[in-house]
């Protein structure tokens, strides 16, 4: 059975945890130096999460920077009911979606048939690796899983990301996304169900390719 992720939740150093409320208070009053310190505490973990989403360090750095600047601009809206890092990750996943959307619109601009497909489940299935042997390689598999995650609707992707990548509890996700726990459960169910269908369809296509 899948382990309870909240038990393995990485925590900050004790010093940082003590400093955090004071720094947050100062930052919310407009102290940019205090927010800079907050960034210094979280930026390595945030950059790692960005790298998980992008798979490329240069893009991940830009994404992490955009996220922290967006967090600074909307810091007054942070109510302190969830972990600050979870709140940052909720911003991160939205920024990532925004970048993806911008990239896709450019891709559509230089149109090819790949982007003119409809929104049905089949068309959302990411490309699997052509060769089964290559597909077994972890980097390929990770890239495939990332594409699956990117193909999810935004509300489902947020919940799946915060649960499995940030390892946040249902209550924490609900607070970070400003919705009820019931909504989080429902979104998690639909998100995972879509991921399951994507995987099933991709495996089916791979089998057909192998037979051909």
């Amino acid at each position: 059975m899948f382990k309870n992720l909240s038990e393995s939740n990485p925590t900050l150093t004790p010093v940082a945890e003590v400093e955090l409320p004071a720094l947050l208070g100062s930052a919310q009053r407009g102290d940019s130096a205090a927010f800079g310190e907050l960034c210094r505490i979280h930026e390595a973990r945030l950059l790692r999460q960005a790298l998980v989403l992008c798979g490329e360090i240069a893009t991940a750095e830009d994404l992490a920077q955009d996220t922290l600047v967006a967090a600074w601009q909307s810091l007054a809206r942070f109510n302190g009911r969830c972990r600050f890092f979870t709140w940052l990750c909720a911003i991160l996943i939205r920024q990532h979606k925004r970048r993806l959307r911008a990239k896709q619109s450019w891709m559509r601009w230089f149109a090819n048939d790949e982007w003119s497909s409809s929104n049905d489940t089949l068309s959302q299935v990411p490309d699997g690796a052509a060769c089964p042997a290559t597909a077994m390689a972890s980097s390929e598999r990770d890239a495939f899983l990332r594409r699956c995650l990117d193909a999810l609707p935004e509300k489902h992707r947020e919940v799946v990301f915060l649960r499995f990548y940030v390892e946040e509890s249902l209550d924490g996700i609900a607070t970070a996304l400003d919705c009820s726990v019931g909504t989080v459960k429902s979104r998690l169910f639909h998100g995972l169900e879509k991921l399951r269908k994507m995987k099933t369809l991709t495996e089916h296509f791979r089998e057909n390719e192998t037979h051909l």
């Binding site: 899948f2 919310q28 407009g30 600047v69 649960r163 499995f164 399951r196």
Partner: protein, 193 residues
Amino acid sequence: MKACPQHQQNLTLLAAGVLSELERDALQSHVAACSGCREYLRELSEICREHSAIAENAPRVEVSSDFHQRLVRRIEASEPVSTSHRDSPIRTWLTAWRWRIALPLGAAIVIFIVLVNLPRPRVEVASPLPIHAIPSVINVARVDSPTTLLAYRRAAGQSPEALDALLARDAAQSSGPSVRVTAFTRDLSALTD
């Protein structure tokens, strides 16, 4: 074999490790007996494991000093949102929906202005008569036309003398009975004779 539809959501939550202990025990006893649900749970557990493994296996990243310096410069260049608006639901609503309201409204205003100021082609309607042939004043009432009841009423309302004058004029024009009727006539039996 498919999973039982009524258990699918809880199976997903079980795979994600967020189901309460009470529900988990009840569901696990069902899963032990149902092969469809067991297979469904296995697939979902694998997906959950794969996705969490990506995060766990991600390499540790060293943040460059340049990264932090660039970030600090960007933060100092941008202003934070004022805390006075922190809990204002109207502002939150407007922030989220501002462009959705402004865009259609602006488009509607532009379309309205364009439609109002659109130069319309002048349609020339052919007149049945040449304009110079239409008299400036049209005398509707002709002199020899019969006097209307309204004219009698007006004259009576004005004065008995005015009514008398009107009746006299009518009598002179018409070739009717020779009995002269005046406004002062009290006995109308002469008319019936």
